[in-house]
């Protein structure tokens, strides 16, 4: 029979898992880590052992499977057994991204998401497009003279934009 580890030992293990998972990056955006994105949410003790909680970005984001595999592989490589729990609530938002992470995105050539405006009280107000168009700065030349070419881009989380000054096309990480 083993004695249950002290809470101090558990805390050390949790910190160790966090450190272990810290370098994991988003499969589509390799400059930003899962933790910075807010996908990696919690390390905790469950009824059946250690749990790592992750949260999906978009419902259909195909990177989620890869992310789960990456987390599992990183833990396996160090002989740590943990169950990976996908948790939807509270719902993921780009507002969890810290300023440093946004700066990394910009340096990589992706315009970072604006802070989400408060949800319109009445859902009917949402459709007015004018209220919904923040100026997006070009990640190349910083001009705000840009235009959206498509709401949808190469991945679910991005829209396509074009800079009207330097004429470079770029991705905009949409507020979600």
């Amino acid at each position: 029979m083993t004695t249950p580890p002290s809470s101090e030992a558990r805390q050390t293990l949790h910190d160790c898992v966090w450190d272990l998972l810290a370098p994991l990056t988003d499969p589509e955006i390799p400059v930003i880590t899962l933790r910075e994105l807010g996908i990696l949410r919690e390390v905790r003790d469950g009824a059946d052992g250690l749990q790592v909680v992750i949260t999906p970005t978009y419902s259909g984001c195909p990177a989620m499977g890869q992310i789960e595999d990456d987390v599992k592989a990183a833990l396996d490589a160090h002989g740590i057994e943990a169950r990976i729990i996908t948790q939807l609530s509270p719902v993921w938002t780009t507002d969890w991204m810290q300023p440093e992470a946004k700066e990394k995105l910009r340096a990589y050539g992706i315009a970072p998401p604006h802070t989400r405006q408060a949800e319109p009280i009445n859902v009917l107000q949402f459709v007015a497009r004018a209220a919904y168009a923040p100026s997006v700065a070009c990640p190349q030349c910083a001009s705000v003279n840009t235009t959206e070419t498509s709401h949808f881009g190469s991945t679910a989380c991005k829209a396509m934009y074009k800079c009207l000054d330097c004429l470079e096309p770029f991705d905009y990480f949409k507020p979600y």
């Binding site: 978009y58 259909g60 609530s89 949402f126 459709v127 498509s150 709401h151 949808f152 949409k174």
Partner: protein
């Protein structure tokens, strides 16, 4: 009964996701090709979450895959609107090119409805459904915005685009009556606090639709005519073809993994 309600929501998302994915590689312009693929990705993602929840409630070995791939036409509970081809009314045996106006009008009518549905379902007594609703609401807002922009662009565009948008509206509008008719699983889900009574959303939906149609210089078709019954598992002839294509691989290799 609550599993039926979740299946109804899941089937809606899956069938429209499958339909819109038909544009993948065939979009009228590259951006719209990508937009439709993104839209489908969101819908199929929502369907997966809803099927997973339904499978939990159903038990007996049900999984998201068994629910999507191994049920037949009389088991599906999606609105008839969502299974129709991307073309105007045709004889059952006729086929036609995909009509982008039909795609856009359908996405508009349905997204305008689902924005209201997901908004309310955030308060569902089923906590998992409430969480799915909060995610889906964010996604369907983009779908609505996309469809509404195109609706205005086509309706208030050239004579040709206006005619196509109006024809699509005339063809599809009667199918939206199904949103408001009662069904046993919706009533039960509403009574248990899991679901909502869709008829309570009708006034807001009318406002959303009428404002958009006015901006698009399109006229709202008169209500009335046949009320479709897809959500009660009585479908048009089109669903069988959708399922045949979607399910063939899973049924040919039922134990395959990749």
């Amino acid at each position: 009964m609550n599993a039926s309600y979740l299946l109804h929501l899941a089937d809606n998302a899956l069938i429209l996701g499958q339909r819109n994915a038909e544009w993948c590689g065939h979009g009228p312009v590259l951006e719209e090709d990508i937009a439709m693929a993104n839209n489908s990705l969101d819908l199929i993602g929502q369907a997966r979450l809803l099927y997973q929840r339904a499978a939990e409630l159903l038990g007996k070995g049900a999984t998201e895959d068994s629910l999507a791939y191994f049920r037949d036409v009389p088991d599906f509970l999606n609105y008839t609107l969502l299974e129709l081809p991307h073309s105007n009314a045709l004889l059952p045996t006729a086929s036609s090119d995909r009509d982008f106006a039909t795609t856009i009008v359908r996405n508009f009518l349905y997204s305008a409805f689902m924005v209201l549905v997901w908004d309310k379902l955030q308060n569902s007594q089923d906590k998992q459904l409430a969480a799915i609703a909060a995610k889906s609401l964010k996604e369907v807002r983009y779908h609505l915005r996309h469809a509404r922009d195109w609706l205005v662009r086509m309706g208030d565009g050239t004579a040709e685009s206006h005619t196509r948008a109006q024809n699509a509206l005339n063809h599809l509008f009667a199918y939206t009556q199904e949103f408001w008719t009662p069904s046993a699983h919706e009533t039960a889900a509403c009574q248990s606090g899991i679901g909502i009574e869709p008829s309570t959303l009708q006034a807001d939906w009318n406002t959303l639709v009428d404002q958009a149609l006015a901006d698009a210089t399109l006229s709202r078709p008169a209500a009335g005519g046949f009320v479709s019954t897809g959500k009660q598992a009585i479908h048009s002839e089109h669903l069988g073809f959708v399922l045949a294509e979607m399910q063939s691989l899973a049924r040919a290799h039922p134990t395959a993994t990749w």
